[in-house]
């Protein structure tokens, strides 16, 4: 896109698809905004009266709202930390010349390709089940009482499941980055007498900073909308222990049958996600420039 001509030509050619995307986005958004101003429930009154900000008021003052925001932050934050730290470790391991390296890599990446519902069910019924699950069996081996994950530590259980799904993604990106590290730099560091830990700290970590920000950006976008894992395992409970913002919106619409309230919640979620993404794109942009 060097010259003015190519720029205007590019704009012209891209216009139809951008227009389509805009319609694609604007129509549902407009409808949601419209719904969020109505007294629109699936029970009772079939006449949807305009009620202004009332839906927003009730959604925000609902004590479940703050809890759900907090839960969203905890979930996204923990999974990010686990996948970046764990992904770096995994990538370092998979970068070593070991026997069966190719197979090990494929296996390490594979959780990413398992559907969220399937993964959550496997974890729920085969691993974390307090009576016949694998973890209960291991606890039993050591004579410890089994943990009833979804009753006592529901949030941790959900975090484990989601992190298990996203760790491979981080590993994949960080591994590719590791492989592009200049080997002569490693030699130079050896000549400079840098022990492995200093080599990692001063050379590998700065090299991984960029791919790590990309991982954070992409994962955050997906993690803000985590739903299937919660729906399948805890149903947002016990109480509100695992209700994130997405789940709260779902609950308003399909458990409380309050479409107007859910629409208001949806709009709030969109606004929050946009704030986060503006913040993140700034961060990534800065990191990708240097």
């Amino acid at each position: 896109m060097a010259t003015k001509q190519t720029q205007s030509a590019a704009r012209l050619l891209a216009a139809p698809s951008i227009g389509l995307l805009l319609i694609w986005m604007i129509v549902p958004l407009g409808l949601t905004i419209y719904d969020s101003t109505l007294n629109y429930t699936l029970q009772g009154n079939p006449v949807h009266k305009f009620i202004g900000w009332t839906n927003y008021y009730y959604f925000v003052t609902d004590p479940a709202f703050l809890t759900s925001i907090w839960n969203t932050l905890v979930l996204v934050g923990s999974v990010l930390v686990i996948s970046i730290v764990g992904g770096t470790g995994m990538a370092l391991l998979l970068d070593q010349p070991i026997f069966g390296q190719g197979a090990a890599r494929v296996m390490a990446i594979s959780p990413f390709f398992i559907m969220a519902t399937v993964a959550a069910l496997v974890w729920k019924n085969l691993f974390m089940q307090p009576v016949f699950g694998l973890f209960a069996w291991i606890a039993h081996l050591f004579g410890a009482p089994p943990i009833d994950w979804f009753t006592n530590d529901p949030m941790i259980a959900v975090i484990i499941i989601v992190a298990w799904q996203w760790l491979p993604f981080a590993t994949l990106i960080l591994l590719t980055a590791l492989q592009s590290l200049d080997l002569e730099q490693k030699d130079a560091a050896q000549m400079d007498g840098a022990p492995p830990l200093s080599y990692f700290w001063y050379l590998v970590l700065p090299h991984l900073a960029r791919p790590a920000t990309v991982v954070i950006l992409i994962e955050t976008i997906f993690l803000l909308g985590i739903f299937a894992e919660i729906f399948v395992t805890t149903g947002g409970g016990p109480g509100q222990a695992t209700t994130n913002l997405t789940f709260l919106v779902f609950r308003s619409a399909l458990r409380d049958f309050d479409v107007g309230g859910a629409a208001a919640g949806g709009i709030i979620a969109v606004v929050l996600a946009n704030i986060v993404s503006i913040f993140l794109t700034r961060l990534v942009g800065k990191n990708l420039e240097g």
């Binding site: 130079a188 560091a189 000549m191 400079d192 007498g193 840098a194 022990p195 001063y202 050379l203 090299h207």
Partner: protein, 334 residues
């Protein structure tokens, strides 16, 4: 200080023998150049000396101390890499000072040494920059600066100038020579470049398939090559090699004569030839000629001879500068 001895140094990768066994004495303070065709093991030998590769056999001694089992940093050597291998996320100053920092040198002292090296290499105004913001020549100087501050017993250079353009190469070549004269530290230098080898070295080591073909002063290799390989490798353009009947006249199965040791005449001479290509460099002219029964020969003439492609000329080799080789390619000295 900085005497390096290689004793029976061997290197194999899996079952490929790259260096079958090398013995070499590098005197303290000398400038040694390794030359040889691509893939002959120059870099491998340098990395063995540096400790970046493990020896498969033999010993490396620095100042009479066996360092074969020492880690690279313990050997007290510095290396300059072909791709510079600068640390991209650090400033020039941190790049140069990294080795000292790893050695636990106090900060003020690091700063002093970095400032000294930067001054020596004209890098002072770039100390705060990142390597990505420097030109090729400046990066090369940073790499050299990084090598200097550790005050090594010897410098190892692996084709340090091959990424630079011709003009910059000449300049950096002079700078490295000047550096050697002022520091008087042993330097081992790997290159492909004839001119670098001839002009910089106290001693040239010609390698072929991991073996030393000959080691000696540049003019010694030029004037008395031990074998055909060295004869062909040293000197530019390469020596003319003549075999068969024409060679037998001079009492050897193979003879060699350098382009600059042939007299040219339009009237009479030993070998009648026909000019095929003329290359004028200004001070010299190179003629590529076809000689009957000898194939193509290269001849150097001083100034412009006025010869054109297709001209008939006569060549006479300077008998005193003729090289004779036996059937195994070894030089025959009479």
């Amino acid at each position: 200080m900085g005497k390096i001895s290689l004793q029976g140094v061997r290197k194999t990768f899996a079952d490929v023998v790259v260096i079958p066994g090398v013995d070499l004495e590098i005197p303290a303070g000398s400038f040694v150049v390794f030359v040889g065709p691509s893939g002959c093991g120059k870099s491998t030998l340098l990395r063995l000396i540096a400790g970046l590769e493990d020896l498969s056999g033999g010993h490396v001694l620095i100042d009479d101390k066996d360092v074969s089992d020492f880690a690279p940093a313990q050997r007290g050597l510095s290396m300059v890499f072909q791709s510079y291998a600068l640390y991209p996320h650090m400033s020039v100053a941190s790049n140069i000072g990294f080795g000292l920092k790893m050695a636990g040198v106090p900060k003020p002292e690091i700063e002093k040494k970095v400032a000294y090296a930067a001054n020596l290499l004209n890098l002072t105004e770039y100390l705060a920059r990142r390597p990505g913001q420097l030109s090729g020549g400046q990066r090369q100087r940073v790499a050299i600066g990084r090598a200097i501050v550790r005050e090594p017993k010897a410098f190892l250079f692996d084709e340090p100038l091959s990424n630079l353009d011709a003009a910059l190469r000449v300049q950096m070549r002079l700078e490295i020579t000047r550096l050697h004269q002022s520091l008087k530290t042993t330097m081992i230098y790997v290159t492909h470049d004839q001119v670098e080898a001839m002009t910089m070295a106290d001693m040239i080591v010609v390698l072929n398939r991991g073996n030393i073909e000959q080691a000696g002063a540049p003019m010694e290799l030029y004037e008395t090559p031990k074998n055909l390989f060295v004869a062909k490798f040293i000197g530019s353009p390469t020596m003319n090699i003549i075999e068969g009947e024409r060679a037998q006249k001079y009492g050897a199965p193979t003879i060699g004569i350098r382009p600059e040791h042939i007299r040219i005449s339009r009237e009479a001479g030993d070998w009648p030839v026909r000019v095929s290509i003329v290359e004028r460099l200004g001070s010299d002219t190179f003629l590529y000629v076809e000689a009957e029964g000898m194939g193509q020969l290269t001849v150097r003439a001083e100034g412009d001879l006025g010869a054109k492609p297709g001209d008939q000329l006569f060549l006479s080799p300077d008998a005193g500068r003729l090289h004779r080789f036996n059937s195994e390619g070894k030089a025959i000295r009479s």
